[in-house]
């Protein structure tokens, strides 16, 4: 539904960024009621004082406290939107803020559309005319951009999946409508068992899609970043530089690192599991060989690989062997790093540039170029979700995820009706709402589309 005006909306109010604090804002009649469902501050809802910061725990759907957060409650009309409003301050990081947003939605809020808080503030008379002047344009630009973006953003595999589901639902909606509007016709009506089977299959597809929503996975596991390269190129030094702490042993002896070392770090709001591994080369040393085997194993499950080269040396066969090795793993994102750029360089960036693999020149020793690497990692991570699972369609966008969840609920409703032997119009009530929801991703499906579908496939009309 478009432009609902007094339901409860939620969104992340701070731009995504590294560290600091993120604010999740909820506004609408149910804002407070929704919040207390997942924000446990030990105060009864009636006793919450407006405009007072309250510390509490964010409780996830399994009942675990995932963060300590601060919430500020505003009562209508004393808020920005003039509605009941809650601001939840979490410990920054995309994961946590997304997670809180996710919880807000699961507990009854709706994801706000771009500019919707401002729109409400305006419609409720909170902000004045001069401030409002720009809003219309803003909404236009942003909504268009976001709709276009989210449409374009739709990964080919995902859009294929969603279109498949949407077409299937359109077909079944049509079949049901035929039973209602053309029951006097001499045509075969849809078998309930068939409908249940197909809709159930669609629902399972949706469940799979919804489950691919990556925020959950990254939350549990973090982004797995593996540092690799031949021995002595400065892998351990890089790890230390990234975490700004001397955690890994660094020596001038090749083969220093044997067993992999894992360190966790927050980069731009994402949890990273950084794994320093043994340098890869041919060797007879048993311990070193075991280290290399483990290093390769880590590479296979990496989300991001930092392949380190020693810039003071020319590219050697060992480097190339590793490059080939990485090429075989098409699932991970790779950044090539030319280290030791404080020394005379024998490798240039262009020697390593290849398709979309970024190359970054650094000095782990002197902490040079680390911010650039940081930035590259940030860029990468925004796309990483899409590539993590290879050939499977996955959902990366909260809006899509929210819509797909609603579709799923409606399919559950449709199945329940069908299984209970309800008449077509009741099954249709849910199927059509599911189709409406999907329409927000694929473009609107109208009654005319349903009728067109009927007329093109069935011989209707006395």
């Amino acid at each position: 539904m478009v432009n609902e005006l007094d339901d409860t909306i939620a969104a992340i109010a701070t731009p995504p960024g590294r560290g600091g604090i993120a604010i999740i804002r909820l506004s609408g009649k149910e804002a407070i009621a929704v919040t207390v469902k997942f924000f446990n501050c030990g105060i009864k809802i009636e006793e919450i004082e407006p405009r007072r910061a309250v510390v509490g725990k964010v409780i996830d759907e399994d009942g675990f406290a995932i963060d300590e957060a601060i919430a500020i409650f505003f009562k209508s009309p004393g808020s920005y939107t003039k509605e009941d409003l809650v601001e939840i301050n979490t410990h920054g990081g995309i994961y946590l803020s997304q997670k809180v947003l996710e919880l807000a939605i699961k507990n009854g809020a709706r994801l706000a559309k771009p500019g919707e808080f401002t729109l409400r503030a305006f419609l409720n008379g909170r902000i004045d005319l001069s401030q409002a002047e720009a809003i219309a344009d803003l909404i236009q630009a942003r909504t268009d951009a976001s709709i276009r973006a989210s449409y374009v953003q739709l990964d080919g595999r995902l859009s294929k999946k969603i279109n498949e589901i949407s077409n299937l639902l359109l077909d079944y909606c049509s079949l049901l409508e035929i039973e209602l509007d053309f029951s006097e016709e001499n045509i075969e009506f849809v078998q309930r068992t068939d409908l249940i089977k197909k809709v159930d299959a669609a629902k399972q597809e949706l469940e799979k899609l919804v489950a691919t929503f990556q925020i959950g996975r990254i939350a549990r596991e973090g982004v797995k970043l593996v540092i690799t390269g031949k021995p002595n190129v400065g892998k351990s030094s890089l790890l230390n530089a990234l975490i700004m702490e001397e955690r890994a042993i660094v020596t001038e002896i090749p083969g220093t690192t044997r067993d992999a070392l894992e360190v966790q770090l927050d980069i731009h709001g994402f949890l990273f599991r950084i794994i320093d591994t043994a340098g890869i080369k041919k060797t007879e040393d048993k311990i070193e060989r075991e280290g290399i085997r483990r290093a390769k194993k880590h590479l296979e499950s990496a989300d991001v690989i930092l392949h380190v080269f020693d810039g003071s040396l020319p590219i050697e066969n060992d480097d190339k062997v590793i490059m080939d090795e990485i090429d075989k793993l098409d699932s991970a994102k790779v950044i090539r790093i030319i280290n030791k750029n404080d020394l005379a360089q024998q490798i240039e960036s262009k020697d390593l540039e290849q398709r979309d693999t970024p190359v970054v020149s650094i000095s782990a020793l002197q902490n040079r170029g680390i911010e650039i690497l940081d930035q590259e990692l940030h860029n990468l991570i925004l796309n990483v979700n899409e590539n993590i699972s290879g050939n499977e369609a996955i959902v990366t966008n909260v809006r899509h995820w929210e819509i797909l969840n609603r579709v799923k609920e409606n399919l559950t409703g449709a199945l329940r009706e069908a299984e209970q032997g309800a008449s077509s119009e009741f099954i249709s009530l849910y199927l059509r709402e599911a189709l409406d929801c999907l329409g927000q991703i694929t473009g609107k499906v109208t009654t005319d589309d349903i009728l067109n579908n009927i007329f093109s496939k069935f011989c209707i009309g006395k």
């Binding site: 432009n3 219309a136 909404i139 236009q140 909504t143 006097e184 119009e425 009654t447 011989c459 209707i460």
Partner: protein
């Protein structure tokens, strides 16, 4: 130039289903009304099939009845077979359909018109309208005489430049055996109206003496026929059966052999026909895998042996019609009394209308019925009624009467007409009504009688009866809520209905929510008037039915009610008449053009225009707020 000295309040041009309802509504509201028809003998003629109602259309008739229209009462009097369709489905999609005595219906409606105070009937062709400073103030008839008035309602059906096709023969005609109207379209186009062509078709009529009905499947009406009108106590007349037979591959072969002389497939017909009512030749070509199609022989009336061959609409040449029909079982010797034909006619795309059916271009001029691109008697009748009412309100300078999509199928119909683009003759379907679970034929009286009463079209005593009905339904539901049934009383009944038995006493409401349990199962067991086993009076039966429906489907109705509340929020945000869309920069160009063209009355209507996006609606919302 000659003109009459009388000044009328409302002039209606056309005596079809739209014109009759418009004229009656206007006259009943006390307006001095005159209806022009080309032929008084064909008032309320059923030009296509001799039936009223059907899926979704039955809803329209009931709604019209609740508002104070005539159609339901007329068909109750002149119906020769009544059936409630979709009985196996939920109550929202049940729909009444009746076969009519074609001539009887026409005479019955003419009687209503002639018995109506304030209403004059005149046989004359209207060739042009009279417009002064942008307002329509009269019409000019074929003799040149002018009639002046305060509002004109045009309900010219398929008569405007009607062109009939039978095979490669074509000739101007408004309907088989009647003249077409030339000049009126051109007159309106002069004022800037856009006119387009549509096409529709009708099947041949058969001499009943020439067919063998024994070889066909007989189809009877309901044993206990339900009337259309809430005010009709009982259908008393005898019913007549229809007969079902099928085409076969031989029939299809013959049809195929005539395609080279089909006006439809040789490109002679340019108007677009309805996909839901295709000609037999279209069916044969588009669905070659089907080697048989249903045909219904529907009696034309009580006093004739003629049958209407439903399912065989065609514009094939005469010889093909004859031989194709004779290939059908039971029709081996069938004689055609009247040939099937296709008709092309002018219509005015209804985007040119306001929700009152008044034209945007010329004030006090209203369009209703088939000239708005609809098909069907019911669709025409409700438009005629709404145009009639709104013309009167306009004359009286009172606020218009507009029904929302959430209130009535009538609202859906008119909103679709004025908002969507019409590509083919528009017909009502239940799937077009997004809130159909609430817009049922069984509760049309509860939904709409009050409006009819306030308009002065429903008598007070009947309005009180409906009030009583509503109150009783609420009261009974409240009472049932409090009543519980013990296992020893309930279980024998539950067992008989193979429904799960209970171990503790259970609320009756809960039991009634079970799919195959109904109020009448508890007759006599519970001490409450609703469980009395001898309810005969119609009103009491209706109350029981409402109580049962409201209880059984409560959950669905609530869900739909929530959808309605969301819908109404936008619907109640009005866009001012003089809105200047050029002033709003952030609208997309497409939206701006569409908005300027349609000029929606509310944000809700705006949101339904193709090409207007949610972002455009947000922009409008902001803009309106700023005003």
């Amino acid at each position: 130039m000659m003109h009459t000295t009388d000044i009328y309040d409302v002039i209606i041009v056309g005596g079809g289903h739209a014109g009759c309802e418009a004229a009656l509504a206007s006259a009943r509201m006390g307006m001095k009304t005159i209806l022009f028809t080309m032929n008084i003998s064909t008032i309320a003629q059923m030009s296509c099939n001799p039936a009223i109602g059907g899926l979704a259309k039955g809803h329209l008739v009931r709604e019209l009845d609740a508002l104070g229209g005539e159609m339901a009462k007329a068909i109750d009097d002149e119906g020769i077979q009544f059936r409630m369709l979709n009985k196996s489905k939920g109550p929202a999609v049940w729909s009444l359909r009746a076969q009519a005595d074609r001539l009887g219906y026409s005479v019955r409606m003419r009687r209503a018109l002639e018995g109506q105070e304030n209403l004059e009937i005149k046989q004359a062709v209207v060739n042009s309208i009279i417009v002064e400073s942008g307002k329509c103030c009269g019409v000019k008839i074929f003799t040149g005489t002018e009639f002046f008035c305060r509002a004109v309602i045009l309900t010219a059906g398929t008569f405007l430049n009607g062109l009939i096709h039978i095979g490669m023969v074509s000739f101007p005609s408004g309907r088989a055996g009647e003249f077409a109207v030339a000049g009126l379209t051109e007159d309106l186009v002069k004022y800037g109206f856009e006119a387009l062509r549509l096409k529709t078709g009708t099947p041949p009529r058969i001499d009943g003496r020439s067919v063998n009905l024994d070889k066909m499947t007989v189809q009877h009406g309901d044993p206990d026929p339900v009337p259309f009108s809430f005010q009709t106590e009982k259908i008393v007349q005898d019913q007549m059966p229809c007969y079902l037979t099928m085409t076969n591959s031989k029939t299809h072969e013959i049809i195929n052999s005539g395609l080279d002389r089909s006006p439809l497939f040789t490109g002679k017909i340019v108007g677009i026909g309805p996909r839901y009512c295709p000609s037999i030749e279209t069916k044969v070509i588009q669905f070659p895998e089907k080697n048989s199609h249903q045909l219904f022989l529907e009696p034309e009336g009580r006093n004739t042996t003629e049958y209407y061959l439903n399912g065989f609409a065609t514009s094939l040449p005469e010889d093909i019609q004859a031989s194709a029909i004779q290939s059908v079982t039971g029709m081996e010797h069938a004689k055609i009394t009247r040939l099937g034909y296709a008709i092309e006619y002018d219509f005015f795309p209804p985007g040119q209308l306001l929700p009152t059916l008044e034209t945007k271009r010329i004030e006090n001029l209203f369009f209703a019925g088939q000239i708005n691109g609809t098909s069907g008697y019911e669709e025409a009748a409700v438009q005629g009624f709404m145009a009639g009412v709104n013309a009167v309100l306009k004359v009286r300078n009172e606020p218009p009467f507009i029904l929302h999509r959430s209130q009535a199928y009538i609202g859906v119909l008119i909103d679709d007409l004025i908002t969507k683009e019409i590509y083919e003759p528009y017909r009502m379907f239940t799937s077009l009504a997004e809130y159909r679970l609430l817009l049922r034929q069984d509760n049309a009286d509860l939904r709409l009688t009050e409006y009819g009463y306030k308009l002065g079209l429903v008598p007070e005593e009947y309005f009180f009866k409906v009030k009583l009905k509503r109150e009783s339904v609420h009261q009974y539901i409240d009472e049932l809520k409090k009543m519980r049934l013990s296992p020893d009383k309930a279980n024998p009944i539950l067992e008989r209905k193979s429904s799960a038995t209970i171990t503790e006493s259970e609320s009756i409401l809960q039991l009634l929510k079970r799919p195959n349990i109904s109020i009448q199962d508890f007759n006599g067991i519970i001490d409450h008037p609703i469980f009395s086993s001898n309810i005969e009076e119609k009103l009491k039966k209706e109350i029981r039915e409402q109580v049962e429906i409201e209880i059984k489907y409560e959950g669905y109705f609530q869900r739909q009610q929530e959808q309605v509340s969301r819908f109404e929020k936008l619907e109640n945000q009005f866009i001012p008449d003089k809105m200047n869309y050029d002033q709003i920069d952030s609208l997309s160009n497409e939206a701006r053009e569409k908005l300027k063209q349609i000029r929606p009355l509310s944000l809700g209507q705006a949101s339904r225009i193709a090409g207007v996006s949610p972002a455009d609606i947000a922009v409008l919302m902001v803009f309106l707020k700023r005003q």
